[in-house]
Structures are given as structure tokens and as C-alpha cells.
């Protein structure tokens, strides 16, 4: 990156309202800051020049170009099924009926996996994904919050 590019970058930051631009390359790193909240741009040299105009489109919004995600571990492949509402979590339709799903079961999208009862309304929750149940995260008959994770599913 030459001095001209750096000057242009400083002008861009000043005009755009972006709070901070960081450019990290193989052999150097530059961070241009105003005294507000940070924005990061990480890129190699040719990409950096191309990437910079992007924030102009939304000058007031903080633009974040995240670094490539670190190598994934095993659990990151899993999908979390969350509760769509506040209520009570049930694993079967009544105490004398079998559980909808057990750990290790293969499920298809559309299969009922639990019931959440709220104010005497009974909600059969169908899976949106196909895969294998890896973990059940809530005990039967326990209260659940909105968005609380209920199941881990391995979609592979």
C-alpha cells in the first residue's frame, strides 16, 4: 500500500463517518481511527483496495468485514433447535405415550419433536431440519423461555 492509498483511506474515513478502519496484510497492519466505535477491514493488498469503497454505500453504519472464521470444531456443525415461545416443554403427548424423539434418533423435517404448552394451548413443534438428535437440552415438563435451545441436531 503506497502513501497515496493511505491518504485516500484517511480521507474516506473522515468523510464516511466510519469510526475505525483496520487493514491487516502479510507484513503490515494499519488502523485508522476516529474517536468513535471500531470498524475492521481485513484484507490482502489488492483486495484491500477493492474492499474499501464498500462502506461508502452505508456511511453511517459501522461496516464490519470479519476475518475468516477459525477452523471449525465438531460442535459447530450441529444445529440448535430453539423454542419459538415461552411455555412448558413436553417430550411426549401425554405421560403414558412414548417420547417423540430420543438421542440417536434420525428425524426428518416435519417430524414432531416436542410439545410446548402455554396457557392451555398445546403446540406441537415440528423440526425444520433433517438429521440425528445429538442432545436434548431441556428436561421434560420444565419451563422454557423464548429462543431457549431445546435440541442439538447433527444434520450430516
Amino acid at each position: 500500500m503506497d502513501i497515496k492509498q493511505i491518504q485516500d483511506l484517511i480521507k474516506f474515513v473522515a468523510k464516511s463517518g466510519v469510526n475505525e478502519v483496520s487493514i491487516e496484510e502479510q507484513d503490515f497492519k494499519i488502523t485508522i481511527k476516529t474517536n468513535k466505535e471500531p470498524t475492521y477491514v481485513n484484507a490482502t493488498l489488492p483486495a484491500a483496495v477493492q474492499a474499501i469503497p464498500a462502506p461508502v454505500a452505508a456511511p453511517v453504519a459501522a461496516v464490519e468485514v470479519a476475518p475468516a472464521a477459525p477452523a471449525t470444531d465438531d460442535t459447530s456443525k450441529l444445529i440448535t433447535i430453539k423454542s419459538p415461545m415461552i411455555g412448558t416443554f413436553y417430550r411426549s403427548s401425554s405421560p403414558d405415550k412414548p417420547l417423540f424423539v430420543n438421542v440417536g434418533d434420525s428425524i426428518s423435517a416435519g417430524d414432531v419433536i416436542c410439545i410446548i404448552e402455554a396457557m392451555k394451548l398445546f403446540n406441537e413443534i415440528e423440526s425444520e431440519v433433517s438429521g440425528k438428535i445429538v442432545k436434548v437440552l431441556v428436561e421434560n415438563a420444565q419451563p422454557v423461555e423464548y429462543d431457549q435451545p431445546l435440541f442439538l441436531v447433527d444434520p450430516s
Binding site: 416435519g110 394451548l121 415440528e126 423464548y146
Partner: protein, 254 residues
């Protein structure tokens, strides 16, 4: 099995009457799970329902052919699942408004969804929803109304329309009135929102603003129902301190 079309309400849907079935809700849900092409407004009616469920799995006893037991299918995908108490309000208000001309001032809605006349139960509602993720696909609304049954041995606080009015009612006439009313209230929710329906629900609430006994997990207390929250929680006042309750956290003592 008999299949007709009731063209005048919830247009063009199916109306299925079954001689004897464990539960019309179960039948409808099972057919839906087999991808039956049932449209909104499909009605399943049973002459005899032998496995009907009341609250917490209580058996609901119905003499064959004497009472109205049916389920109606709604597809309220325009609502977020967290607004589902609105469907409860729609159904309660629809039944209340359909029966009010017959039964008058004594008719009431007991929170969250029983139909009472005075201190006795006339009917109940069981709503079962089918959700995929955050998408509310179907609502299977089961309704049971005691119509021509006169013998309620063992059930001290049950009553029927015949017992109250001393005449027989034709079940399908009543079904028609109820479905018309459900259609009206459901479209009112769709087009104008919940506000007016909520007012009717609260006005019709059994025990509103009356000091009465409740059972709170084994403890007997006196309190006064003052409101129902938007999410359906019952708001009860105890000597100036109000508290909110979910279903089963509070029990009416008769």
C-alpha cells in the same frame, strides 16, 4: 363417514361427520400429518367421542349423539406464535357470542377457555397448534358443548343447554351458528386486530372483579381477578398486590 360442503362459512371447506372417534382433534391432526389437503375451515364432527380430553388429560364424558363435539382447522400463519392467545380469545368470544342469544347474562368465559353458565361448566376448548420453527402452520381447535345431555352423574358442576332451557337442540344447527361466529371473529382478528375481541373476552370473564377463593399450589387464598395480560396470564389482586399466573399455577375453588 359422511362428507358435505358447508358453503356459507369459511368458504368451500370440508365438513366431515364421524360416527365414533377417539377425538376429533386427533383425527384432524393425524390426517394433516398424512398430508390430507384440508383447507382452513375444515370441520370434523363426531357423534360419539370416546377419548375426548379435557384439561390435563381429564376425560370429558359425553353421551353418544347428545352433545356437540367438533374440531375446526385454522391456519393462522399471519400471527407470530407468541401471539397465540389471540386465537384463544377469538374462539372463546365466538362461542360466547353465538350462545349469548340463547343463554344470556349468566354465560361466561372461565379463564383461559372454558364456557360457563353461572357456576357450572357448559363446554370446553382444546387448542392444539402445529409449528415449524417460528412458522405457525395450523391450529386444530377442538370444541365440546353439552347440548342435550341431562345426566351428569359424578360431575357436580356440569350443565347442558337442554337442562337450562328445557328443550332439545339440533346439534348441526348449533354447529352452524358456532362456525359462523368463529368465522366472523377470526376475520375480525385478521382485519381489525385483537383489541375489540379482547374487550369482549374480558367483559365476559367468569369472576371478574369478584373476591373469590383460589388454590395456589395447595395454599387457599382469597383474591380478585382484575385483568388478563396480552399473553394470556391471569392477573389477580390480593389486597392491593397483583400477581400474574400461568395456566395450572392457579386453580379456582368452588
Amino acid at each position: 363417514m359422511q362428507s358435505n360442503t358447508f358453503s356459507s362459512f369459511l368458504n368451500g371447506q370440508k365438513f366431515i361427520t364421524l360416527k365414533s372417534i377417539s377425538s376429533t382433534n386427533d383425527y384432524l391432526k393425524e390426517e394433516l400429518s398424512k398430508s390430507a389437503p384440508f383447507s382452513e375451515g375444515t370441520v370434523i364432527m363426531a357423534e360419539e367421542q370416546f377419548g375426548g380430553r379435557g384439561q390435563s388429560g381429564n376425560k370429558w364424558l359425553s353421551e353418544s349423539g347428545k352433545n356437540l363435539t367438533f374440531s375446526i382447522l385454522l391456519k393462522p400463519s399471519f400471527l407470530n406464535p407468541i401471539q397465540q392467545f389471540n386465537i384463544n380469545i377469538v374462539i372463546c368470544v365466538a362461542i360466547y357470542e353465538a350462545l349469548y342469544p340463547l343463554l344470556g347474562e349468566e354465560l361466561a368465559i372461565k379463564w383461559p377457555n372454558d364456557i360457563y353458565v353461572g357456576d357450572r361448566k357448559l363446554g370446553g376448548i382444546l387448542i392444539e397448534n402445529i409449528l415449524q420453527g417460528n412458522e405457525w402452520r395450523e391450529s386444530v381447535v377442538g370444541i365440546g358443548i353439552n347440548v342435550n345431555q341431562e345426566d351428569f352423574s359424578g360431575l357436580k358442576n356440569a350443565c347442558s343447554i337442554k337442562e337450562l332451557l328445557h328443550r332439545e337442540y339440533i346439534l348441526t344447527d348449533l354447529l352452524y351458528d358456532l362456525c359462523k361466529s368463529i368465522e366472523k371473529c377470526y376475520f375480525q382478528l385478521k382485519n381489525q386486530g385483537i383489541a375489540d375481541l379482547q374487550l369482549v373476552y374480558k367483559k365476559a370473564l367468569y369472576g371478574l372483579n369478584e373476591v373469590r377463593k383460589f388454590n395456589l399450589e395447595g395454599v387457599s387464598v382469597e383474591g380478585k381477578i382484575i385483568d388478563v395480560a396480552d399473553d394470556g396470564q391471569l392477573i389477580v389482586d390480593f389486597n392491593g398486590h397483583s400477581a400474574r399466573f400461568n395456566f395450572k399455577e392457579i386453580e379456582f375453588v368452588f
